[in-house]
Every structure is written in structure tokens, then in C-alpha cells.
């Protein structure tokens, strides 16, 4: 009698909850496999596009969207949002809520949520980093404005030199005892002895820059955060690789890659030891474009790591390169420079102006997009938590 009662109960449950699903289990299963395959393929396609992006975006300007430029990052965030939306459908739509609390999802989904919360802090850190970049942009714009005047006179060059020194100092803050240190003195026209400010000029300048944009909690580290996020990221094997464990892994990897790329590109608090790899198994076919991108970015990072780089963002790299070059020019400027030198300088100034323009147009939208990612992640997490709570099986407190 007991058995009948139970059957009766679950039969009714099936009727009321899965009203819209076809009764045949086989058809369901087919459909599900197709959906999983489609998701995987779409992820792969999107990252292929990022690997060799076409020229459709109006933001890109003439030519391709350079890797790790503002425009490229915005495309990356678009990709992330698309993957995220599709993943949510896959995980939640038209399903019995209890399925999320069955193995292996009962472990994998809370891990994913934990990663999601960690990514929120990275979003915040990157947002602060964008503010820092805007600061640098404004310094560069002073130089552009000064050196853009014709003819370039003594006064303009001095003005530009001052701004460029501040620019280089600002970008070198992460670099402990490198080149940047020399320039920070010149943010002031002269050293102040004593006075109301008390601290020495160098410390104050560096301190100012630091307080300006290290907005995260003391001791917080972007590198450690990423490490924590990837520590339990393991590709599902064997029986687990069918079913929802696979898209959960794919989405986690997409999340990891996106956050990692953002941190590499944009100045973030504490990136030393930024793991240049988080392990994506090489044999995964859908992951090939991502692996390719990862290698490229990691190479760049290693090159710049010793000097200490403000960030791999293409526009920052340009600012660094042009900043140094124009500073050299300014240092050695005689009253009348040779005309071809001037021409070369004019070209560089034009390039700097163009870079500033890209920043002017792209940085605020980038911040808005990061904010959108923040919202989406919070929303999805809330919805998944609600489903988990409904099924009444949340045993361990997840984040």
C-alpha cells in the first residue's frame, strides 16, 4: 500500500510540475543532448570570433579590433553576456527544480555560485582600474594639447613634459623600484620642504596615486582571487561529461577567462604572480580558440611582467610607449628642433590623440558593461539560489 501511495504522490507531482513536457523520456533526452551540443558550439564560435575579430564594430576604427584593446574587451564582455544568458536557459528553464540538487550538480552548482561571487569583486576592482586609466588619459590629453600647438615652443614642451612625467609615474605605481620612481619627483615642479603636507613629495605623489584608485580592501589581491576561483575547476570526466556538468564547466571556464583577461588588461590591485595559466585541458575541442587567446595574452604578460606593467590594455600600451618616446623628445628639446624630428613627434602626438579619443569614447561604456555583467551575475545567482532553496536541499551554506 505504501508503494502505491508514493507512486500516486509522485505521479501527481509529475503532472503538476512538468505539465509542458512530453511524457516520452527518450525524446527529452535527445533534445537535451542537442541543446548541450549547441551551447558548446556557440561558445566555441564566439571565441573564434574574438581570436580573429572582423571589422564590423564601429568602435574599432580603421583596421581590426586589436587584442586587448578597449573595443576587444567590450566584445569579450558581450560574448560573456551571451554565453551567460544561454547557460541560464539551459540550467533552469523547463526543468524540475530538484535536478540541480542531484549529483554531481549538487557540488558543481554551489562551486559555480562561489566563483560567481568572487568574480563580482573582480568586476569592482576592474572598475576602479578603469578610473585609474581615465586619470592617465587626462594627463595624456594635456600632453596632446600642449604638443599639438604649432609651432611647438618652449612653454608647450615644458607643459607636456610635466604631464608626461606624471603620466609615467602614474602608470609605474605597481612597479616597485623601476623607472617610474624617478619620474614621480617631477609631478611637482619642485620639492617641497616641510610645509603643510609633511610627507616628502615623492611619497605624496605616489600615495596620491595609490589612494586615487586602489579602491579595494587592504590585502585584497586580484591574482589570489583568480587563483581561488580556478582552484576547483576540473573538467568533468567519464559519465559526468554528459548531462549538465559539462555546460557548468564550460560556463565556469568562460567566466574564468573573461575575468582573467580583464585583470591582465586593466590595472588591478595586486596582480603579482598572476597565474599566467589556469588549466584548460588541451584536448577540449570547443576550448581551442580560448586556449589560443590565453596563450597570446600570457605571452604578452610574461614579456611585460619584469618591467612591471600598468596593464596589457592596448591603449595603455600605446600610452606607455608614446609617453616614453615623447618624454625623451621633451627632455632633449632645444628651442628649434629639426623639422623631421618635429614631423615624427607630430605623428606620435596624433597617435596619442587618437588613443585618447578611443579612451574617451570607450572607457565609460566599458564601465557600464562591467556593471551590466555584475548585475547579470547577481541575478542569475539569485535565481539559482531560489531554485536550490525550493528543492529544499541546500545543506552546506553556499556563498
Amino acid at each position: 500500500m505504501r508503494a502505491t501511495e508514493n507512486n500516486q504522490g509522485s505521479f501527481l507531482n509529475r503532472i503538476s510540475i512538468r505539465r509542458n513536457q512530453i511524457v516520452s523520456m527518450d525524446v527529452n533526452h535527445e533534445q537535451e543532448l542537442q541543446d548541450l551540443d549547441l551551447f558548446q558550439k556557440r561558445v566555441s564560435d564566439r571565441f573564434s570570433n574574438l581570436f580573429s575579430p572582423s571589422d564590423e564594430s564601429p568602435i574599432a576604427g580603421a583596421g581590426e579590433t586589436a587584442l586587448l584593446s578597449i573595443a576587444w574587451l567590450r566584445k569579450l564582455l558581450d560574448v560573456y553576456l551571451c554565453c551567460e544568458a544561454e547557460f541560464k536557459v539551459l540550467l533552469l528553464m523547463g526543468r524540475d527544480p530538484a535536478h540541480i540538487s542531484k549529483a554531481p550538480l549538487d557540488r558543481l552548482v554551489p562551486e559555480l555560485l562561489d566563483r560567481a561571487v568572487k568574480s563580482l569583486d573582480i568586476c569592482n576592482a576592474v572598475t576602479h582600474g578603469v578610473e585609474a586609466i581615465r586619470h592617465c588619459q587626462k594627463l595624456a590629453e594635456i600632453a596632446v594639447s600642449a604638443l599639438g600647438q604649432k609651432p611647438v615652443g618652449d612653454g608647450q614642451v615644458r607643459r607636456a613634459k610635466k604631464a608626461l612625467n606624471s603620466l609615467i609615474a602614474a602608470m609605474a605605481v605597481e612597479d616597485k623600484d623601476g623607472i617610474g620612481g624617478k619620474f614621480s619627483d617631477r609631478a611637482w615642479s619642485f620639492g617641497r620642504k616641510g610645509g603643510a603636507g609633511s610627507a616628502s613629495s615623492k611619497d605624496r605623489t605616489v600615495g596620491q596615486f595609490r589612494s586615487l584608485w586602489w579602491g579595494m580592501a587592504k590585502g585584497w589581491s586580484a591574482a589570489r582571487q583568480l587563483q581561488a576561483m580556478s582552484s576547483n575547476l576540473v573538467a568533468p570526466r567519464g559519465a559526468e561529461s554528459t548531462g549538465l556538468a559539462q555546460p557548468v564547466y564550460i560556463m565556469s571556464t568562460v567566466m574564468m577567462f573573461t575575468m582573467w583577461a580583464l585583470v591582465a588588461a586593466i590595472p588591478c590591485q595586486e596582480r603579482t604572480g598572476l597565474a599566467t595559466h589556469f588549466p584548460i585541458p588541451r584536448h577540449l575541442s570547443w576550448a581551442q580558440p580560448m586556449i589560443g587567446l590565453q596563450e597570446k595574452i600570457a605571452d604578452e604578460w610574461k614579456k611585460k611582467e619584469k618591467k612591471g606593467s600598468f596593464g596589457l590594455l592596448d591603449e595603455i600600451q600605446k600610452l606607455e610607449k608614446l609617453g616614453f618616446s615623447l618624454t625623451e623628445f621633451a627632455e632633449s628639446f632645444q628651442f628649434q628642433a629639426e623639422s623631421d624630428r618635429l614631423e615624427e613627434v607630430a605623428t606620435q602626438v596624433a597617435e596619442l590623440a587618437e588613443t585618447c579619443q578611443k579612451m574617451e569614447e570607450g572607457l565609460v561604456p566599458l564601465q557600464q558593461q562591467i556593471r551590466e555583467v555584475f548585475h547579470k551575475v547577481v541575478r542569475t545567482r539569485t535565481e539559482v539560489l531560489e531554485v536550490l532553496d525550493q528543492s529544499g536541499k541546500v545543506s552546506t551554506p553556499t556563498m
Binding site: 615652443g153 607643459r159 580592501a217 545567482r381 525550493q390 556563498m399
Partner: protein
């Protein structure tokens, strides 16, 4: 103070003054600051700058032009340093004694120190209190420098310097207010009671930040930069406060996305209310286009807090429904779940003003036709005109009873099942009656229903225990017709007495350990028992004692007097074992 109109400097003289103060050129120029010196020097310098700037258009020869341009740059560099220096001299984080919540202060200084030429007035909320961050003569100096820098095209430098100095001042003020930089991860890891303290502190600090610190910074920007160029005061203001504002709101945001659990409801409502209170001030202080993102973020956080509150309530309901403990409370007394839930909804009724606005949808209940045995039904037709919040509270009571009903089934003794329900539903009724807000929301109709329920439980209890006991004292079956007796079967009678005594002793021993915490209810139930038991026993004794007393060992059968029984009833529902068994107190 502007230099006197009639004073005139020749271009050469002006140039000489500028060059004299070139800090890259001479030690002396580095040692002293113009604006710290005597006012004549200041006036002459400013005059010189004006002269140089005027002469850009009039100078034609390229050599002279180059000299002028160079002089301008030297002057601007100098002015930038002077600007920075004036700001630094007057940099001090806000004194903590001024840091009281402005909305609680009686006076609000309505722009008393403001320059009358400033026509900007945004005092639409009386809770904003701007204070003077920099004395007015310094402000005038800053303004005179800013004007010149901006008209010479050195706007960016001006904004940078201003922003960097003022921003670190705001940072210091933040530290004094106890505003911490915590990551979302940090907040997730903290215990809730630690977070409650931080929330309280944040609420106090946020009020000061927005109403005093930010408002005063904005006023300062206006005083220095208003009218000097387009929206420069805005740019400087954002440069100063954007970072700190984001940092301030990040805490509230982190709380709004923290994992939901019932104990968090009330602090989240506090945070919600505090933020809602601040929104008008935020909208005023951050009214410009460039500060839109801050207004948006504040609104987003508010909406998330509201959502969190709704989610927590929903989760609470779920938790009440599915609370799984099976261990029966000893003695059938009030279950901890009942206490917890009733305390919780009492608190909810305290917050009804906010929650009435936030809770707009009815509870999702099982419908009568779902056949789902794990959820009770509730029809709303009979609950017309109630707010959604009230419906939720009633629903919570419904599911509480449902859950308790399930728990009651774990008692082996059927009487205890009923006693347990009686106790708990009675407690619910008492709690509702004890809170006017709660009572008003639940409504007297439903209250009557609940009352009926616990009375029914009382009746069921009595039936379950006492029917069989009283059955012993019935008349039928005792009379026989036969040749030797006078119509009463002595053996049957003896059986009856023995059974009655045994049952009574058993019930007495057992039910003394049961508990009815409410003294009035306890008394009522005892009286009700007595009213049935005592007359029945008295009458039984009266009719049949002779038959027993005329036989052997009557004391084995008539063990107890009516008085004994009356005393025994007093032991019921006290909640502890009787120290002595039912004794014959009277012989």
C-alpha cells in the same frame, strides 16, 4: 581680491615678475609661496599673469610670441603649485564633533557662509547640511587662480590638482567615520551579528557622508569654479567624490546580495529604509549628468534590498513549512518553532509600514485542488480587503499549524497529540492578541477561527483521555437479575473499581508530566475535567459503595475519595512528575 583696475604693468615688467617666481630657476622661488606672503605680492603676480595673457593677441613677432607662451607656461606651473599649496594648507578631514546626523540637528545652517553672488541653490531637503571646508579668503584666492588657469587653457591641470587633494581629504573623513573598505568576499565570510554592527555603523556614516561631506564638497566646488567655465565645478566634484561614493555604496550593495536567511530580514529593512531616506539627498547632491551612474547605483541597491527582503520572507515561509524536526517536545508544551515564528511575525508587524510597500503579491499557497499533500490550502475569498502583507502573515500561521500538526503525530499518546495542538494554537492566539498591529492585520475573524481550533483540540483531548475512564463509571452492565444478589453484580463492580483506579493512576502519573504553560488555560482544562469526573465519581460511589463495603477488603476497590480525586486533578499539566502517587489523603 582683484587687482585694482588702474594699475598697469608693462609687458616686460610682467614678464620679469613671472620669471622671478619661476621655481625651476631659483632656490628662492622654491622656498617661498606667493600666496603665503603679503597681499601686495599676490596682487602684483596676478596682475602680471593677466598682462601676459592679454598680450597673446597683441604680440605679433614670433620671437615675442614664443617668449609670451613660455612665460604663460611658467606662470601656469607656478599657479598650479600655489593652488595645490592653498588646498593642502586647508586640508583637514572633517572634525568628528561636527559629524552628527544632520537630520537630527535642530538648526540647519541655510547657506549662511555662502557667497551672495552664488545663485545656485539646491536646498530642497532640509536634512542636508553644508559646512565650510575652506575659509572664504582662501576660496577667493583659489578662485582667482582657477579663473586664470582655465582661461589660459590649463583646465585639466586645475581639475587634476583639485581632485587629488580633495579626494584624499574625503578619504581621511571616511576613515574617521569608520567606513571600511571591505570586499564582497569579506562580507560574505563575516558572521551576521558582526555584519549587523557594521550595518548600523554604515547607516550613521552614510547619512553624514551624503548630507555633510559630499554636500559640502559640492558647495566648495561651486564656490571656486561656478561661472568660471562650463560645468567645471561638476567635473571637479566628480573627480573628488566619485571613487569614495562608489566605495560607500559597495558595502550596501554587498549586503543586498548576501545569502538570504530569515534572521537578516530586519537589518536589511533598516538598511533599506535608511537608503530610501537618503535617496532624495543623493539625487540633489548628485544631480548632474556626469554623476548619473551614482544615482543609478543607489537606486539599484535600494531595489535589490527590497528584493532581498521579499526573498527572505518567502524563504522564511518555506522554512516554516518544511522545518523537519521530529523530536516531540516533552510534555506536549509549546514548540520552539511556534515561539520563533510568532516572535518573528510580531517583529514583522513592527516593520509593517515598510513591508506593506514592499510586499505586493499574495503568498503562493497550495490550491485546494492541487492534491499536494505537502502544502496546506488557503482560500483567499474569505480574506477580502487584506493587504498582501497581512495575507502573508495569516499564511505563515496556517503553515505553522500545518507543520505542528505533522509534528503532533509523532506523539504515541493520542491525548498528547491534542494537548500539544491546543497549547500551540493557544499560544498563537495569545501572541496575536498581545500585539495590536499584529491583531489588526490578522483580523478578528481569523482569530476566532484559531480560538475555535484550540478549543476543539481541548475537547478532543478530553474525549481521548476521559471517555474510557468515565466509561468505568457507567451504570449499564452492573445490574443483573439473579436469585442471590440484589441486582448488582459484585464481581463486575469490583472489576470496574479496579479498572477505574488503574486508569486513573496511569493518567494521573502520565499527565502530571504534561505541561500547559498558560496558567489560565491550565486551570480551565482542569476545571473542565473536574466537572465531568467528580460528579460522575461521586454519583458512582454513592450508588455502589455499599455493595463493596459489605464485601471483603473494600479498601482494595474504593481506594480514593472524592476529595482525593479533586486533589489529583490539581497535579495535572504541571509538567513535572508527581512526587507521590495518588494517595489516599483521606481515610
Amino acid at each position: 581680491m582683484e587687482p585694482p583696475e588702474d594699475a598697469n604693468l608693462g609687458l616686460d615688467e610682467a614678464e620679469e615678475i613671472i620669471l622671478r617666481w619661476d621655481s625651476t630657476a631659483s632656490e628662492e622661488a622654491r622656498e617661498k609661496m606667493i600666496f603665503e606672503g603679503n597681499r601686495d605680492e599676490v596682487d602684483r603676480y596676478l596682475l602680471a599673469v593677466d598682462q601676459i595673457q592679454r598680450s597673446i593677441s597683441s604680440v605679433s613677432i614670433s620671437d615675442d610670441q614664443a617668449k609670451v607662451n613660455s612665460a604663460i607656461q611658467i606662470a601656469m606651473a607656478r599657479l598650479e603649485d600655489e593652488f595645490r599649496n592653498i588646498l593642502l594648507i586647508h586640508t583637514s578631514p572633517i572634525e568628528t564633533d561636527t559629524l552628527t546626523d544632520p537630520s537630527s540637528s535642530i538648526h540647519s545652517s541655510v547657506g549662511a557662509a555662502r557667497d551672495s553672488s552664488n545663485s545656485v541653490s539646491y536646498r530642497s531637503t532640509s536634512s542636508i547640511r553644508e559646512i565650510d571646508l575652506i575659509p572664504s579668503d582662501a576660496v577667493i584666492d583659489l578662485r582667482s587662480i582657477a579663473e586664470r588657469m582655465i582661461s589660459a587653457g590649463y583646465l585639466r591641470e586645475c581639475i587634476q590638482v583639485y581632485g587629488s587633494v580633495r579626494k584624499s581629504t574625503v578619504d581621511s573623513s571616511f576613515r574617521r567615520l569608520g567606513i571600511e573598505k571591505l570586499s564582497i568576499g569579506d562580507i560574505q565570510r563575516l558572521e551576521w551579528d558582526q555584519l549587523e554592527t557594521k550595518i548600523r555603523r554604515w547607516i550613521r556614516a552614510a547619512k553624514v557622508c551624503i548630507r555633510i561631506v559630499f554636500a559640502s564638497e559640492k558647495k566648495l566646488c561651486e564656490e571656486i569654479f561656478d561661472g568660471v567655465g562650463t560645468a567645471i565645478d561638476d567635473a571637479c566634484f566628480m573627480e573628488t567624490v566619485k571613487g569614495p561614493a562608489i566605495q560607500l555604496f559597495n558595502f550596501a550593495e554587498a549586503i543586498s546580495i548576501s545569502r538570504r536567511s530569515p534572521e537578516k530580514l530586519f537589518k536589511i529593512l533598516d538598511l533599506h529604509d535608511a537608503l530610501m531616506d537618503l535617496i532624495p539627498d543623493i539625487d540633489v547632491v548628485f544631480e548632474s549628468k556626469s554623476s548619473e551612474s551614482i544615482r543609478i547605483q543607489a537606486a539599484e541597491i535600494l531595489s535589490r534590498l527590497a528584493e532581498a527582503a521579499r526573498g527572505i520572507l518567502s524563504e522564511f515561509e518555506n522554512a516554516v513549512l518544511r522545518e523537519p524536526s521530529r523530536v516531540p517536545v516533552p510534555g506536549g508544551t509549546i514548540h520552539p518553532l511556534t515561539r520563533y515564528v510568532m516572535n518573528y511575525i510580531s517583529l514583522i508587524s513592527d516593520y509593517k509600514q515598510t513591508l506593506n510597500e514592499l510586499i505586493v503579491s499574495k503568498p503562493s499557497t497550495g490550491s485546494r485542488y492541487s492534491g499536494d499533500p505537502t502544502t496546506p490550502d488557503m482560500e483567499f475569498a474569505e480574506l477580502e480587503g487584506k493587504t498582501p502583507l497581512a495575507l502573508h502573515l495569516i499564511w505563515i500561521i496556517v503553515i505553522l499549524q500545518f507543520n505542528l500538526d505533522g509534528k503532533s503525530k509523532h506523539y504515541k499518546d493520542a491525548s498528547l497529540v491534542h494537548l500539544f495542538m491546543m497549547n500551540n494554537v493557544h499560544y498563537i492566539v495569545q501572541k496575536v492578541k498581545g500585539s495590536p498591529e499584529l491583531r489588526e492585520m490578522i483580523g478578528d475573524d481569523y482569530l476566532r477561527k484559531l480560538t475555535g481550533k484550540f478549543r476543539l483540540s481541548a475537547t478532543n483531548y478530553q474525549r481521548a483521555t476521559w471517555v474510557r475512564v468515565l466509561y468505568c463509571l457507567r451504570d449499564e452492565g452492573l445490574h443483573v437479575s439473579g436469585s442471590f444478589s440484589s441486582g448488582v453484580s459484585k464481581s463486575a463492580l469490583r472489576e470496574r473499581f479496579k479498572t477505574f483506579n488503574a486508569m486513573l493512576e496511569d493518567v494521573h502519573r502520565t499527565q502530571a508530566t504534561w505541561l500547559i504553560p498558560d496558567s489560565q488555560l491550565r486551570e480551565e482544562l482542569r476545571i473542565s475535567i473536574s466537572e465531568k469526573l467528580i460528579p460522575a465519581y461521586r454519583s458512582f460511589l454513592g450508588r455502589f459503595r455499599n455493595h463493596i463495603e459489605s464485601g471483603k477488603h473494600p479498601e482494595n476497590y474504593i481506594k480514593y475519595s472524592v476529595e482525593d480525586l479533586e486533589n489529583a486533578v490539581l497535579d495535572f499539566f504541571e509538567g513535572y512528575p508527581i512526587s507521590q502517587h495518588l494517595r489516599r489523603r483521606s481515610q
